[in-house]
């Protein structure tokens, strides 16, 4: 008999009051925390993640960024279960190489997104516990963000937050980038500098209120010139 506490709430600690005899099964999943964010602009894309790796009440590492560079124009952010993140990025790298060798060109961001969707769905009945967000430039050079759920449903967005603090960050992005439900505001297009500043502010807020987010922030800015990485310290407590 499973209690709802064991599986219903991922990543949150189990209650310590006595609820009666409980059967604990080995779970192949663990929740390692972390938050990922991606924003797309007219000619740039930003993928940012915190660098804390935690499990339960402990922190395993303060320097484990969750952005992985795939090609010169695409970066993926994976948060959730770290074991599945590592395996998934290895599989994606292998598939990218295979594509490059058989088609003699690098995969575009849209193609990587479609491929990742089928990779994730291939494990429909034992999923990868990973929340993915791909950020990159599409064929026309415009910024593109593709957000996924753990079993492969995806779509193209302008901005998306994923991971443990996603429920806190997404409304803020809806307000600041999407101008949702605001009357009488001018929709100014987002510049790269403003977007980077916004991402920094947003992560500082997330680190305040989410215990699994903090330590440092890694920002990857993707433009047609290449990928530029910056690291910024966050709260360490």
């Amino acid at each position: 008999i499973f209690t709802l506490q064991t599986f219903g709430d991922p990543g949150k600690m189990k209650d310590y009051h006595y609820t009666g005899p409980v059967e604990h099964r080995f779970s192949p999943y663990a929740f390692n925390g972390g938050t990922v964010l991606a924003v797309a602009g007219d000619d740039f894309a930003i993928v940012a993640s915190d660098t804390r790796l935690s499990e339960g009440y402990s922190i395993h590492s303060r320097d484990s960024p969750k952005c992985y560079k795939l090609t010169d124009t695409t970066v993926i952010g994976c948060s959730g279960f770290h074991g599945d993140c590592l395996t998934l990025t290895k599989i994606i790298d292998a598939r990218l190489k295979m594509y490059k060798h058989s088609n003699n060109k690098t995969m575009t961001s849209g193609a990587i997104a479609a491929m990742l969707s089928t990779i994730l769905y291939g494990r429909r009945f034992f999923p990868y516990y990973v929340y993915n967000i791909i950020g990159g430039l599409d064929e026309e050079g415009k910024g593109a963000v593709y957000s996924f759920d753990p079993v492969g449903s995806y779509q193209r967005d302008t901005y998306k937050a994923g991971g443990s603090a996603s429920a806190m960050l997404q409304p803020l992005l809806d307000n600041q980038i999407g101008f949702k439900n605001m009357e009488g505001v001018q929709h100014v297009p987002l510049t790269k500098e403003k977007a980077v500043q916004l991402v920094k502010d947003v992560f500082i807020s997330a680190a305040e209120r989410d215990v699994y987010t903090g330590d440092a922030l890694r920002i990857c800015v993707i433009t047609k010139k290449g990928i530029d990485e910056q690291t910024l310290p966050l709260r360490k407590d």
């Binding site: 990543g11 769905y121 291939g122 494990r123 009945f125 779509q155």
Partner: protein, 345 residues
């Protein structure tokens, strides 16, 4: 036992389960084994390793919830088929995506609405589109909507009893097959497809004298709008009106009142929009925008996505004006009444 021998019961356990699937002996009962849980629904470059732990005993309880909850509807009328859906994708209380697409075009004359788990619906629609395209290339004609519904239903059957959840309505227009060889259908653009006038509902054949009158009348009977409901638990139904999802009871009430065969396209669009709007108002798991697709003999067209928040505010404004006029009438009546009372009798 005699019955055992007749049914070849022992053979089922001794033979390999994968060859069993293709056995043509009618007395071999097809029992979906739990090994299907190991098989990937789609095989690409990597065959799935069979030595994964925890897959064959039972499905691993997931630490995350899946996306569910929606309102989709589709109905047939004299102008074709109309499909409408909301765009909210929720995940046990959190709106995972306020602008998801629940009506997915499969090919130029077939559109499917999706309900259930969004990943399942998206991927199975992709698989169905691939299979229909292969059929079209092999047989140089499009598979009918009925055939597509049957194909989807049979593809989902091995996964019956698992947590796969797909409830789709396939809306299509059959007919006009012979022109397809000349056209390369672009399925990505959302604009009206221009085609040569197809056979459609017309009776006279427009090409060749090899058609017999029986052929042409059969074509007329087989072509036209079609609507099918396919569910992952095995249901496959043909009908004129379907609504699927958590908001469907509310949508059904509007549709049952407003849908008739003789509607014009504008009237049908407004009924569909109204049904989705009312359902989103009452159902917590539906909301945000409404998508409307219209399928005719020329293909599908998509109406611009509409924000229901505007509609809600227009409705509030209308109610406010109504209340104001009612209030004015009431005041006018009471003042007349008090004047009558004040007058000396």
């Amino acid at each position: 036992m005699a019955l055992e021998d007749l049914c070849h019961f022992r053979d089922i356990f001794q033979e390999d389960i994968t060859t069993e699937r293709f056995s043509i002996n009618l007395l071999h009962f097809y029992i979906p084994e739990v090994e299907y849980l190991d098989e990937s629904p789609i095989q690409f470059a990597f065959p799935l390793p069979t030595n994964l732990p925890f897959t064959s005993s039972q499905t691993v309880p997931l630490p995350f919830p899946m996306a569910h909850g929606t309102t989709t509807l589709a109905f047939m009328f004299q102008g074709g088929v109309l499909a409408a859906a909301d765009t909210r994708s929720s995940c046990s209380g959190l709106v995972a995506c306020p602008a998801s697409q629940k009506i997915l075009p499969i090919h130029s004359h077939l559109v499917g609405t999706t309900s259930g788990t969004s990943a399942d619906c998206m991927l199975w629609k992709r698989i169905l589109a691939r299979e229909l395209r292969l059929y079209q290339l092999r047989h140089s004609r499009r598979l009918s909507t009925r055939g597509a519904a049957k194909l989807l239903s049979h593809m989902l059957h091995p996964f019956k009893g698992t947590e796969l959840c797909v409830a789709a309505t396939l809306c299509g227009w059959d007919g006009g097959e012979l022109e397809d060889e000349c056209h390369d259908h672009e399925e990505s653009a959302g604009t009206t497809k221009t085609q040569k006038p197809d056979l459609g509902m017309t009776v006279g054949p427009s090409q060749g004298s090899s058609f017999t009158p029986q052929d042409s009348s059969r074509k007329a009977r087989l072509s036209g709008p079609r609507l099918f409901y396919v569910c992952s638990d095995g249901t496959r139904l043909e009908g004129m009106l379907f609504s699927v999802g958590s908001g469907s009871p509310y949508a059904y009430s509007i549709l049952d009142q407003g849908v008739r065969w003789g509607l014009t396209v504008e009237e049908a669009t407004s009924v569909a929009r109204e049904a989705v709007y009312r359902a989103t108002h009452r159902d917590a798991y539906s909301g945000n925008f409404v998508d409307v697709f219209h399928i005719t003999s020329k293909g599908w067209t998509r109406r611009k996505r509409e924000d229901l928040k505007e509609e809600y505010y227009r409705e509030k404004e209308r109610q406010r004006l109504e209340r104001k006029t009612q209030h004015d009438i009431l005041r006018a009546n009471t003042s007349i009444y008090s004047q009558c009372l004040a007058m000396p009798s």
